[in-house]
């Protein structure tokens, strides 16, 4: 399984990738997770990779071989399309964060991103994860909402394993908020796919 998580630095892509990695490890898979630390964390585009299977060599998902992209921001989702194979899945947060060329008026923020992505034959699960996170109790748990949505698309892993892993990895203080956020993403996608 090849998963790419794209986000704007500071959105919490690391947490999502660590939960995915831990779940796969628990299932007995070989796992590699590639993270981003350093410069781009300051509001730039960040990409983390999660790969699991019987034996994993490269820690990086090769373009054209991705099964799923979790996009924490629309423009980053658009940018990540080349990672996906034909018929891949994208979990797309409807949140819009303007990058500097848009702020300064040099470029326009592309419109109808979800439509453009879907036109490539990609299964798109779009959601307002920021609103769902706020409903769960904290605007910061956007990442966990999207993780829940992604979990709903992954076959062969019981819901309980996901919940247990979120419980172990989420900060104690925000445990309930994270569990609720996870549930919101999970049920949204399960509802869509029924």
């Amino acid at each position: 399984m090849n998963i790419v998580i794209v986000a704007v630095g500071g959105q919490g892509a690391l947490f999502a990738s660590r939960v995915l990695g831990a779940v796969a490890l628990g299932k007995g898979f070989d796992v590699k997770v590639s993270e981003v630390h350093g410069m781009s964390q300051r509001g730039g585009s960040v990409i983390t990779h999660v790969r699991y299977g019987s034996a994993i060599a490269s820690p990086i998902v090769e373009e054209g071989y991705g099964d799923m992209v979790i996009a924490m921001e629309m423009l980053e989702g658009l940018r990540a399309v080349p990672f996906l194979k034909k018929g891949g899945t994208m979990i797309l947060n409807e949140q819009v964060i303007h990058p500097m060329p848009v702020i300064t008026g040099k470029m326009a923020y592309p419109d109808d991103i979800a439509g453009k992505v879907a036109a490539q034959g990609i299964t798109v699960h779009r959601m307002d994860a920021l609103k769902m996170a706020c409903d769960a109790g904290n605007s910061k748990v956007v990442n966990t909402v999207l993780l829940g949505a992604a979990a709903a698309c992954v076959s062969g892993i019981d819901r309980a394993i996901w919940d247990d892993t979120v419980k172990t990895l989420a900060p104690r203080k925000y445990l309930d908020v994270n569990l609720q956020a996870f549930d919101k993403g999970y049920t949204m996608v399960k509802g869509n796919t029924k």
Binding site: Q41, V81, L84, I103
Partner: protein
């Protein structure tokens, strides 16, 4: 226990298991987390050093005094530590000395793509190259054994993708290693020529012994597969190639210096076609070809930027799947890193731009001021260079030029390598103005403490050095401190100081907005759309919280920190306090 670990965490774990008791480092991506993880082990006396040279010197001292010691840095950090690194090679060590250097192919967070394998070869010391976290742990332990067995510092070279990827490791127990006696024959650690000439010979003999060791070590691995294609690779390049050619024969290099000539020769002769897969530099290829063997490499693979399985697939097999694309790449706005909302650095650079000063900059979060829209840093070359370079401007263009230019440097960078430049200005009668951007942390690399933060690596308190007192001791008379959020005061002070016919020293203060537990102002700011004339002046500050919607500026209330720097930029007073969140 089987667990997922970051390469850097596995290095820390390996050091701990190897019985290390001393660890030194200066932060630098992608090496920083090694020391952060090491700091969790009570048995290791670990420090953030002031710079890499000092880190290396403390480590040398600890090793010679008998302790197993690890010193970590990013690739360009080794340049800073080059003098001790080259000089300790002949004398050798006592307690094992392992130098972990993290290279950054692709320049994710660095000014260049220099390859530490070259420097290991130049210093005549072994270089090990792990390819995943399990190897990080194992290779570090092996490095300590080698260091003591061959009486040499040992380099463990990482690259970003190894340092920052998690993979499975099986952890072990800590070996308790006693301090070695500190009673070597007189002269071993003296590099005066009479002694050093003797050690020079020893260093050559050591390389010969290491070459013999390299022929049989488990660090190198031959994987017999289809002999029509043989791949010679190391580090993450091995992983990429394995992904593309799972059935090929592999010679996986674990020790990059010295290479095992015999075993590589046997491997090359066994395979029909051999390709060397290495990132950036053709070091293996060059050495292997010098043995008269025929291999490929640079004729196929790029020498700029990092490799990927796609590049290897495209270049070697000539076929790679067509990629989906929802919009052509050049129409998708890029998203470079930016200064955070509430960043200490925005105000000073806004003012420097307004005053049209030539800014000799440095390296840190503030280097983001070189990008649009601020574009108010004109040079940034290597850590600490800002000060000497600004003085160079003055030397080249005359004393008057000191009124048109400044040096700008962060607090951590000032301690790292700004002091000597500052002394040079005073000593050589310069007029140059130096601005220290004191955000009370080493921000760029993820918030490490430094000599002016009042804390050390283990979190305990220490006296906080004051850059102003240092400047005073050096002999600078014009010393000012300004609130970094107060752009009115900043403009006044900077104008006065650059005009003064003597050196000036300005410290701007405000803690980095990302410091945990920082108290933020209660109120955010909003744009009064009645008053806003849509002039876009506030957008020129590059604050990600401000955007332009329907012809007016708008401040995102989730992002605004209430720093208020934009208030004085608006010509019509349209930016006002939110009064409890009215948007």
């Amino acid at each position: 226990m089987k667990q997922l670990m970051l390469g850097n965490e596995a290095i820390a774990r390996g050091a701990w298991e190897a019985g290390v008791t001393v660890s030194t480092a200066y932060p630098g991506t992608p090496s920083t987390e090694i020391t952060e993880y090491i700091s969790h082990y009570n048995e290791i006396n670990a420090e953030w050093s002031v710079n890499e040279k000092v880190a290396f010197e403390v480590a040398m001292g600890a090793s010679i005094a008998g302790a197993r010691t690890i010193v970590s840095m990013k690739h360009v950090g080794l340049n800073n530590a080059m003098d001790p690194f080259m000089s300790i090679s002949y004398p050798g060590v006592n307690g094992g000395l392992v130098v972990v250097v993290a290279d950054d192919p692709g320049q994710h967070s660095s000014q260049n793509e220099q390859d530490t394998r070259w420097l290991g070869i130049a210093a005549k010391v072994p270089v090990l190259e792990p390819a995943d976290s399990a190897e990080c742990l194992f290779f570090v332990k092996e490095a300590f054994t080698l260091s003591e067995r061959f009486d040499t510092p040992v380099v463990v070279r990482l690259t970003t993708r190894v340092a920052h990827s998690q993979s499975i490791v099986i952890t072990g127990e800590r070996e308790v290693v006693a301090l070695k006696p500190f009673d070597q024959p007189h002269g071993k650690y003296i590099v005066a020529p009479a002694y050093a000439r003797k050690r020079r010979v020893v260093a050559e003999e050591r390389m010969a012994k290491l070459a013999a060791y390299a022929e049989s070590t488990v660090l190198n691995k031959v994987e017999d597969g289809d002999s029509s294609l043989g791949i010679i690779a190391s580090g993450v390049g091995y992983q990429y190639a394995k992904e593309v050619f799972p059935d090929a024969s592999f010679f996986k290099i674990g020790i990059a210096n010295p290479l095992p000539r015999e075993t590589i020769t046997t491997f090359v002769k066994k395979c029909k076609r051999v390709i060397v897969v290495e990132e950036v530099e053709s070091i293996y290829e060059m050495i292997i070809k010098s043995w008269g063997l025929s291999v490929e490499g640079a004729n196929l693979l790029p020498r700029v930027g990092e490799l990927s399985s796609r590049i290897i697939r495209e270049r070697i097999t000539g076929t790679a799947p067509a990629l989906l694309q929802a919009m052509s790449e050049n129409q998708i706005p890029v998203r470079p890193p930016v200064m955070c909302p509430g960043c200490h650095h925005r105000g000073p650079f806004y003012v420097l731009k307004k005053l049209k000063l030539k800014v000799s900059g440095d390296i840190g979060c503030y280097t983001l001021a070189a990008s649009p829209p601020l574009e108010s840093m004109h040079t940034s070359i290597c850590m600490g260079a800002s000060i000497g370079m600004a003085f160079g401007f003055e030397k080249a263009r005359g004393k008057e030029y000191a009124a048109q230019s400044v040096a700008v440097i962060g607090d951590s960078t000032f301690w790292h390598s700004g002091l000597t430049g500052l002394i040079d200005i005073v000593y050589n009668k310069g007029y140059t103005t130096v601005i220290v951007l004191d955000n009370s942390i080493t921000a760029m690399t993820g918030h490490q403490d430094n000599p002016s933060t009042g804390k050390v690596l283990d979190g305990s308190s220490v006296i906080a050095l004051d850059p102003k007192k240092i400047a005073e001791a050096i002999g600078i008379k014009r010393i000012r401190e300004v609130d970094a959020y107060d752009i009115v005061a900043l403009e006044k002070v900077i104008k006065e100081e650059v005009a003064a016919p003597e050196p000036s020293f300005i410290v701007t203060k405000r803690p980095c907005i990302l410091i945990k537990g920082l108290e933020l102002p209660d109120e955010t700011y909003v744009v009064d759309t009645e008053k806003c004339i849509g002039c876009r002046k506030c957008l020129a500050m590059g604050c990600p919280a401000i955007s332009f919607v329907d012809g007016k500026a708008r401040i995102n209330q989730l992002q605004c920190t209430g720093c208020g720097v934009c208030v004085n930029v608006c010509p019509v007073g349209a930016i006002v306090k939110s009064q409890g969140g009215a948007v």
